[in-house]
Symmetry: C2
Subunit: 458 residues, 2 copies
């Protein structure tokens, strides 16, 4: 058994340059799921994944159309009925690359500088998908996979996975498995093997405020109408109090409190104030009073402004009193908050606080609940052992601030736990200009995944 694994590791080491080239190929496809004009590129990316599956001798490889972007499926079930079946999740879509002018090299032209490969999706999560495919390849070419594996690679993660729930529900038999593997989380540092056991949920909204029925001259009418941009600012300003608590009515009612044991565990993580200052470049940290940075990111809910737009934003000056103002606002949720519940809380806040001088509209966009995985699952223990084998030190356990809605869907619909892994680093600039993957960690990730698939067979 270990021979097979060692042969696979050697194969992986020998093929590193080609593995990296294939990742570059994948990153070159601008599969931006939120862009209505990118249908063709989305299909192209799905075909790239299906092609990889065919190359590994997978069966039932198919690009399934959905109401949105397609889902790619493939399976390799030759390990035998006595071996476990893992469902490996991934997504081939990426975030928009804007603002383009801040990229040091083109977003969809993967470029290596030093130890990093830059490009949109390099880390989130084309790199992670390639890690899992290449670990499988290394084992397939060296005696075969020790466990049974199914892949489900979707194209809508970056827009909140709107079609995935229906797809999973419609294909429960096809997707039946013992547990899921989700490599869409990351590490706390290149030398800190990390296992994520908690994820935050997401509720995303667009708030539109309007007042006058057309843009006005700020001289002719400034002083008699309530400026919608000002009202939007007042509404947003009121959503936090001075201690950084969120003021939506009942917002914390469903939040599961942190117990002393977990706080102590989280307190041992290396992600301290200095870590967050370095990662963000902010002049000072901020957030909810009474919680440490790592608690605020992992175990406390937030409310963020993701975008603001109103009036004249070009160069120079235009004395317009704008008719409308818009904000993108999203919340990261923790157990046991529900996206629809916070939607209602936001509506109630707006109903209570918005003045009669304006009109407002709230559009609900992506959303999904938070999730927590039992860290004593056998599959989690296999992962722990694999990470230690590659990094030579025990893994750290943490709750992550990001959202992976599919984890909740896997639990609800298929009744399985997800083991969360992934080899992105905190400075990978996810969702930002100059996204990159750390190439040595990409290679370590392939090694760890080979160990992991091998350990799962034991």
């Amino acid at each position: 058994m270990n021979d097979r694994r060692d042969a696979a590791l050697q194969y992986a080491h020998e093929n590193r340059p080609r593995f990296l080239d294939e990742l570059k190929e994948f990153v070159r496809i601008p599969s931006v799921s939120t862009d209505p004009g990118a249908k063709g590129e989305m299909q192209h990316a799905a075909e790239w994944v299906a092609e990889q599956m065919h190359g590994l001798g997978m069966e039932k490889v198919k690009i399934y159309p959905t109401a949105g972007h397609p889902v790619v499926y493939g399976e390799l079930l030759k390990a035998g009925a006595d071996k476990p079946t893992a469902l490996i999740y991934g997504h081939y879509d990426v975030q928009p690359a804007e603002p383009l002018e801040l990229w040091h090299s083109p977003a969809f032209e993967p470029t290596q500088r030093g130890d990093n490969l830059y490009g949109r999706g390099a880390s989130d999560m084309k790199g992670q998908v390639v890690i899992s495919l290449k670990a499988v390849e290394s084992l397939v070419r060296n005696g075969g996979l020790p466990i049974n594996v199914k892949f489900i690679i979707e194209g809508e993660e970056e827009v909140g996975s709107p079609s995935l729930g229906d797809f999973i529900a419609a294909h429960k038999d096809l997707l039946a498995c013992d547990f899921a593997i989700n490599p869409d989380t990351g590490m706390m540092g290149a030398d800190i093997p990390t296992i994520t056991y908690g994820l935050r949920g997401l509720a995303y909204f667009e708030l539109r405020v309007s007042g006058p029925d057309h843009d006005l001259h700020s001289g002719q009418f400034g002083g008699v109408v309530h400026n919608p941009a000002q009202v939007l600012c007042e509404l947003i300003a009121g959503m936090h109090d001075e201690q950084g608590h969120i003021t939506l009515p009942g917002y914390y009612d469903s939040v599961r409190p942190l117990d002393a044991e977990e706080r102590e565990e989280l307190g041992r993580l290396p992600t301290d104030e200095a870590f967050y200052l370095k990662q963000t470049g902010a002049p000072a940290l901020d957030g909810e009073a009474g919680y440490t940075p790592v608690e605020r990111v992992g175990a406390r809910p937030t409310l963020e402004v993701n975008g603001l737009l109103s009036g004249f934003t070009g160069e120079g000056s235009k004395t317009v009193l704008p008719a409308r103002a818009m904000a993108k606002i999203s919340m990261r949720l923790v157990p046991d908050q529900d996206p629809e519940e916070v939607h209602q809380q936001l509506l109630r806040y707006l109903e209570e606080k918005s003045p009669g001088t304006i009109r407002w509209e709230l559009i609900k966009m992506a959303g999904g609940p938070a999730s927590i995985t039992d860290r004593h699952l056998p599959a989690v223990q296999s992962l722990e052992k694999s990470l230690e084998a590659v990094w030579g030190k025990p893994a750290s356990f943490r709750r992550e601030g990001g959202s992976v809605p599919v984890v909740a869907q896997m639990a609800d619909i298929l009744g399985v736990d997800s083991v969360l892994t992934g080899f992105g680093l905190p400075d990978d600039n996810l969702h930002a200009p100059n996204e990159k993957i750390h190439v040595p960690t990409f290679y370590n990730g392939i090694d760890a995944f080979i160990h992991f698939l091998s350990n799962l067979a034991e």
Copy 2:
């Protein structure tokens, strides 16, 4: 004398279709002064004006280059030394046309619908410039101008006239006159002949807030840094109190209070709450407590958000925690506020209120003080008589909310008063999509200007 005037009026009536065609020609030139790419169009518009002056037999016609866009000058001084000399001001530049998608016909393709001619600049102020040129033409072709006239038509009014002060100072002899005529204000309604005796000043700023040194993933980092878009909203929200008063330190210290007599006069104007509701389409009016709408627009200072921009503003959702947020903020000033004084007040506000979790930068853009004209000037009385001759009713006197910085410059540098007139209407959509001029009022304006130039000779 009246024969000459009556012949000019008849000529003007006979030539109305051609006058309108020439206005359309002028509107077709997209002379957007804030657009760095419009240099050629600005020159084109200046040449159009110079061509008109040549056609009227004017002398010393010249397009003067400045640090910004050129100034066009021309004069006709044949009335004799015993007649007064008026300096007629105008501007050939226009506001940007954005947002283009809200125009019902293209902004620079003048289009007549009903009694209105739609196009950017049709009212502000190409229409007003054409009114003055065509009144002069009508008199020149029918016995000659009864007074001496100089024209100064600039190309930077919509960006705050940054070059005009230097130009006036450098050409004091050329511009010497008894008074200035500035037709850049408007009427309160098509049947309400209006004389404006007060104008608000302007101070325009761009406020930039930054926090993290790059856009962050709102899941990975939401909770530990202060969101710059949220901070910007908080800073803006704090600039007004609940009574609509502006909270910048010392903001009202220099504001000249309204006396009882002026409040009573302003109270007789027809621009009541219903008027402003109809003109703006807002669900309700708003503004500073303790003042009527007409007082708030004409005699009280304001602070408006003219634009907001941060993070992701496209379609769909992007979970970014933006590194930066920007607002365009401007104040309309009243006597005796000073633009530099309010600049310092805004700086003090930001120094006091901005948290240490972000960085901010304030960029000062256009600015000019407010002005008030003595309504008992002979030239103002000539205008009053002219408006009554055309509309058959006495003129209303008001203070207008807009800003015409050149009025203060004429007073400071040339030592002359400005008579403010103009024939734009409140629903002309100045600075907004679907700007238009009311064609019957455009024709009445030409008649009134012919009367005015004639009355000034008496």
